[in-house]
Amino acid sequence: MFRIPIQQRPNWQRKAADFGFKFHTMHGEPYWDETAYYQFTLNQIENDIEQPTADIHQMCLAVVERVVHDEALLARFQIPETFWLPIADSWKSRDPSLYSRLDFSYDGSGPAKLYENNADTPTSLYESGFWQWLWLEEQVNKGLVHKKADQFNSLQEKLVIRLGEIAHHYQLDFMHFACCKDTDEDRGTVQYLQDCAREAGIADYFVYMEDIGLSESAAFTDHDDQIIETLFKLYPWEFMQREDFAQHIQSSGTHWVEPLWKSVLSNKALMPMLWKMFPGHPNLLASYFEDELHLANETQLVKKPIFSREGANISIIENGKTVLEAQGPYGEEGFIYQAYSPLPKFGDNHTLIGSWLVDDQPAGISVREDTSLITQDMSRYLPHIIL
């Protein structure tokens, strides 16, 4: 695993505009960064990332199986009681899931360590599935990257197939897609999934979360009063379960993507549960619930809110003292603690690997860099190759 500087494609901003990639620069700071790329060996990809990703996903499903049948655990996961039964039902009927992203700390050797599972609303999908794919095609064509270079990235292919399967499962040939207003990044991610749906022959409709309505028959509707039968929502379950329309989530009859049972996975309580069920697993970091902290013998711990996004409210604790803290609006539902395992450094950068799954199939990686130890939303996205 190397970080290799490379010339940028001279016209890439123009190309980004053509393809509707609008959030490559955010707040004047680069987000998409093609001044360098990461190079992996096939062995690193297949043995250190792909296989552990598939394995961990199966372990996560084992956690879901356990949690949905245990009220005490559902409470620990801070899931509102009214959703316990709907979540169990969604799990029992195996409502199809679309995708997830596991975040790993990995430096090219030794086992990758799982930081968390973004199982409900992962972003950086477009950059991964399409934009870095295009980057490789073009850099190979220009002779700047070796002809034999490959990329761990079958995301788009798998997303198209999976969306087709989901449509078939629910016997539909159209699907609604939603995210919140005022965010180019989320809108871009959802648009990408709409593009993939179209490739699969599914008609796509978009609605903003804020514009969703409730019909007289208690179904959800879009801004054109059309009934939402299937909704892909890039909006966290833990928010939806606490908002005004929460009481209609089950009765609306909507097919949800991601399905309700994913609220068990996109939840930091997953980490101590994994550690309890698979203690000492090489790809896991020791993790503890707050009231089990006495079990921890690590001197350095990372404190993470049960619910949080983009590194917010995460702090690093050394011998009981906070040494680094990211601000944010999360934490009221409690915290979990994870053994400290710092991100590897390449130059001045801390590097995080996101490993994608489409349903239960490993489907590629994304590489993000941050100058801080805590990867936040100002981190940069770099392409990668396999050689």
């Binding site: 053509d18 393809f19 959030f23 955010m26 973004n118 609303t121 992962p122 972003t123 399409f130 794919w133 295009l134 490959d150 990329q151 761990f152 990235n153 079958s154 995301l155 292919e157 040939d173 159209f174 995210c179 919140c180 207003k181 005022d182 965010t183 180019d184 990044e185 989320d186 991610t189 648009q191 179209r198 490739e199 008609a203 903003y208 979360m209 804020e210 514009d211 969703i212 309505g213 019909s215 007289e216 509707t221 801004h223 054109d224 009063d225 059309q226 009934i227 939402i228 890039l234 909006y235 908002e243 329309f245 983009e310 601000q327 944010g328 609006p329 999360y330 590629g364 939303d377 100002m378």
Partner: protein, 204 residues
């Protein structure tokens, strides 16, 4: 192992986003150009009822109804803009019309034609609005464009092969009693701290 680990083929044309400024609202295309391997049928774009009647003698009534259906659909699902200037930048000078719908008032491009297939089929015809642009700034200049922004090729081309799966089923419509029951957490979290990035999303 020699198996490729990346997507083998991505259709770049379908990944392009044609609009220079994204419309406020965008429809969907009922009829899509056929993809390879799909069963196809012929469709024709007509620029007026007369155009349709001339090519389908004796079918004036059908041509008229299909035109009216397409016009209604254009109003419902065509690209919508908040200002005339933005609309004209995409579609050209004097190509946009002020319109009021239930969801607000907008500027929309004129329907430039309608695409008709199965005109004489006992199952009924398929019709959908087509737009085109006269603006030098637009990637739709002199091209047929569907309500969803799909590019149907050069506007001199009138006959095309479309997907046989033509009329997709659509969502049913119901009366909406209340709105705004989702999204409040975002408003609450957004108000946190001045350093939080407003444009950042709620994914992770």
């Amino acid at each position: 192992m020699t198996q490729r680990k990346r997507s083998s083929n991505i259709n770049l044309a379908s990944m392009r986003k044609g609009f220079s400024v994204k419309p406020l609202a965008l429809g969907i295309a009922a009829v899509m150009l056929s993809r390879c391997g799909e069963e196809t049928e012929k469709a024709t774009v007509y620029t007026s009822v007369d155009d349709c009647t001339n090519q389908n003698p004796g079918q004036e009534e059908l041509c008229k109804t299909a035109y009216q259906d397409a016009l209604d659909e254009a109003q419902r699902t065509g690209p919508k803009y908040a200002s005339r200037q933005i609309c004209e930048e995409e579609f050209g000078a004097n190509q946009c019309n002020y319109t009021r719908t239930e969801s607000g008032s907008f500027f929309m491009p004129f329907m430039a034609g309608y695409m008709l297939s199965n005109l004489l089929s006992p199952r009924g015809y398929n019709t959908q609005p087509m737009f085109t642009s006269y603006s030098p700034y637009s990637s739709y200049r002199h091209r047929w464009m569907g309500a969803d922004g799909s590019d149907y090729g050069d506007y001199r081309r009138r006959n095309m092969n479309v997907s046989k799966k033509a009329f997709k089923s659509k969502p049913s419509v119901s009366k909406t009693m209340s709105r705004g029951g989702f999204g409040s957490s975002v408003r609450a979290k957004s108000s946190w701290g001045s350093s939080s990035r407003k444009s950042s999303g709620w994914g992770g």
